[in-house]
């Protein structure tokens, strides 16, 4: 995609989602899970934005909150100029035909009592985009588009394998001709040899239907393959966003560096020479997130300042945004001592 063609389709501004929960032995104490905390980014028309992070970092919540499946605590999500967060339930429903989702688990997201045809017809009937007569033809078309045989329309989900079910879920997301699809870990429940089929399919239909994707995954190799840009999340915050090639060539945030170095590569030579950045400790609790930079207590470069002030995402040229207070010092340290333990 050229720079000139970049028009934001989705503008996420200062998005916050907190979940109030009850903790303690008898649910007597109240607490708040800071699932996403002040997140801002744009998704451009026709692009795939990959969103990566470890479990519990808020990447799926971000996807759900953009679609307002979870109503946001504060902040805005502009979709084609309309703030989805301000819409009522019925207004939102009308928007749903333009913004769809493919879920992680194709086993639990298809109704076992509905045939494939019924499952695909439902969104079209709800949104009344096609006259009743045209629906069967449209269903056949959708099924063909996702690489299945149209005669499957009369069959039930249990008759299909995981990969085939995910194809059906993709067809269902396409039923209303959406412009934007959130893909929430669409391949992580599938076998390795099937994953490649689904990635290819998602890329094919993106071209065919002019789709924009938010592709959520924890598998960096997959995200790198399918995305144009990648955003890295950690504990409810975006740490770094950059063009895919740029992010892999020149990761800046210490967390991104550790994450990239932790991904194994299917090549023994690469692995033997690899210098891993092994992070100490575990991800902190989202109920009581660390002050300042969310990553500071696992970061090899952290100072007292990192524990106090929250770093903002700052642009470091060509849309490479990083949220880190000590970028300059880190760059300097690395030129002096390039291989850190």
């Amino acid at each position: 995609m050229t720079v000139a063609a970049k028009q934001p389709l989705v503008k996420v501004k200062n998005l916050v989602k907190y979940f109030p929960i009850k903790i303690g032995a008898f649910g007597s104490e109240k607490a708040v899970v800071h699932a996403i905390d002040d997140v801002s980014f744009d998704i451009f028309k026709g692009e795939t934005l990959g969103l990566v992070g470890e479990s519990g970092c808020g990447k799926s919540t971000t996807g759900y909150t953009i679609l307002q499946i979870y109503r946001s605590t504060s902040g805005s999500v502009e979709f084609e100029g309309v703030d989805l967060a301000s819409l009522s339930k019925s207004e939102l429903r009308a928007m749903r035909k333009k913004a769809q989702i493919v879920f992680q688990d194709p086993y639990s997201t298809l109704n076992p009592r509905m045939t494939i045809g019924e499952a695909l017809a439902e969104p079209m009937k709800v949104h009344k985009i096609y006259p009743e007569k045209e629906i069967p033809g449209r269903i056949a078309q959708l099924i063909r588009d996702v690489g299945l045989n149209p005669n499957v329309a009369n069959r039930y989900p249990h008759e299909f394998s995981g990969g085939q079910r995910q194809r059906i879920c993709i067809a269902r997301a396409l039923a209303c001709n959406p412009e934007f699809i959130v893909c929430d870990e669409p391949i992580s429940a599938l076998d390795v040899s099937i994953q490649a089929q689904i990635i290819n399919l998602l890329m094919d239909i993106q071209d065919k239907y002019n789709l924009t994707y938010l592709f959520i995954a924890h598998d960096l190799a997959v995200v790198r393959h399918i995305s144009d840009r990648i955003a890295v999340m950690y504990l409810g915050k975006i740490m770094e966003i950059a063009d895919k090639a740029e992010l892999f060539r020149r990761p800046m945030h210490p967390y991104t560096k550790a994450l990239l170095s932790a991904v194994p590569e299917a090549d023994p030579d690469v692995e033997r020479q690899r210098k891993r950045v092994i992070l100490k400790g575990d991800v902190s609790n989202a109920i009581d997130p660390p002050s300042g930079c969310r990553f500071h207590h696992r970061c090899a470069y952290a100072t007292d300042a990192c524990a106090q002030s929250v770093p903002e995402l700052e642009d470091h040229g060509e849309g490479h945004q990083v949220a880190c207070l000590r970028l300059d010092e880190i760059a300097l340290e690395e030129t002096l001592e390039p291989a850190e333990a």
């Binding site: 470890e54 479990s55 690489g147 299945l148 045989n149 499957v152 394998s161 990969g163 085939q164 194809r167 076998d191 390795v192 040899s193 099937i194 994953q195 490649a196 089929q197 990635i199 290819n200 890329m203 924890h218 960096l220 190799a221 997959v222 790198r224 393959h225 399918i226 895919k244 090639a245 892999f248 550790a258 994450l259 170095s261 932790a262 991904v263 194994p264 590569e265 299917a266 090549d267 023994p268 030579d269 690469v270 692995e271 033997r272 690899r274 891993r276 092994i278 992070l279 575990d282 991800v283």
Partner: protein, 339 residues
């Protein structure tokens, strides 16, 4: 190298409502002392069942119908229940996939760790606790004396997996079977655990079987890889051979379908058409034949044996189960249609 384990023609099946599920169909391999073997395959390929069959850690519906499992000469497939009990936990240690469900939530870490060695080594509780603390230190859990008195829910996922590893090592086993020990963990935690296991292996000189579905993970870790499909071993070779010179069409397809730094981003990934096999019928032919781009007539009639590759002097220890020599056939694997 001295041989620790030899498995010969192992068959395991499950009794199901209308017959049997043929999970493991003739698996044979050997493992040397101090060697680390990776077993890779997709879900349902029999990798876990075959390795659990080694120490007969199987559900009641499963039966080992054929084969020998020789651990230092003792046939575990025919050992009595009490003999097997002695082997588990003392000669063979286990690390399971999910540390959240494999630890008893009602028992303190210390009590769980001690149970095994008090039984196997006839240790007193105090001695066992001392030993447990030592192993918690070894697996990198700080403040181990204090941790012994905590419950599993007080530890994070990575810490719990470290406890599981300590538990497997406590009996000072010669063989550790690790069944997808990092699948439930995040990549940065996975990297921690992998480094830990590599270190421990050097220190304790034990043999390890690491079961996984992730071929990339094994590249930096094991000595040898065994690829399984449909309950059989389809290829087995030293690590560099597998990645640089794969010979079985399934291994070739699997390696190509992994997106890596070398694949052209945005391009189509070569994928393997079709779906994994149905194991409710006993295989009579190559299990991969229906999905194979190199398929020949013979492949649909006879099961190929696991044999050294044709040019075996140039590629020692490389065995495949395939009728076709992919180096001589020009069939570029094509992406088939689905359904």
């Amino acid at each position: 190298m001295t041989k620790l384990l030899e498995v010969k023609n192992l068959h395991t099946r499950f009794k199901v409502r209308n017959g049997y599920l043929y999970a493991v169909n003739g698996v044979s391999f050997t493992l040397d002392k101090g060697e680390m073997l990776g077993v890779v395959g997709e879900s349902g390929c029999g990798k876990s069942v075959s390795m659990m069959s080694l120490i007969r850690l199987l559900p009641p519906a499963a039966q080992i119908t054929e084969g020998e499992v020789l651990l230092e000469g003792q046939d575990l497939a025919k050992a009595s229940a009490s003999e097997i009990n002695t082997v588990r936990g003392s000669k063979v240690g286990m690390i399971f996939q999910d540390p959240m469900t494999s630890l008893n939530p009602f028992m303190k870490i210390g009590a769980q760790l001690c149970e095994g060695i008090m039984y196997h080594k006839k240790m007193s509780r105090a001695e066992a606790m001392k030993q447990a603390a030592k192993y918690l230190d070894l697996v990198g859990i700080s403040n181990s004396e204090h941790r012994l008195h905590e419950y599993p829910h007080q530890l994070s996922g990575g810490m719990r997996q470290r406890v599981m590893i300590a538990m497997a090592l406590l009996g000072e086993p010669e063989l550790v079977i690790a069944d997808e020990p990092t699948t439930a963990l995040d990549v940065t935690i996975q990297a921690q655990i992998v480094e830990l296991v590599k270190e421990l292996r050097e220190k304790l000189n034990m043999s390890i079987i690491w079961i996984t579905h992730d071929l990339s993970l094994l590249a930096g870790m094991v000595d040898r890889i065994m690829v399984m499909y449909g309950g059989s071993v389809v290829e087995e070779a030293p690590i560099d051979e597998i990645y640089k010179n794969p010979r079985h069409p399934y291994t070739i397809g699997l390696l190509k379908s992994i997106p890596s730094i070398n694949t052209v981003a945005g391009s189509r990934l070569p994928s393997i058409a079709g779906a994994p096999p149905n194991l409710f019928v006993e295989p009579q032919s190559c299990p991969f034949a229906p999905r194979c781009a190199y398929r020949q007539e013979r492949c649909t009639r006879e099961i190929p044996p696991l044999e050294p590759v044709a040019d075996d002097s140039a590629h020692p220890k490389h065995r495949i189960a395939c009728w076709v020599d992919v180096t001589k056939v020009n069939a570029e694997p094509k992406e088939g249609s689905v359904l």
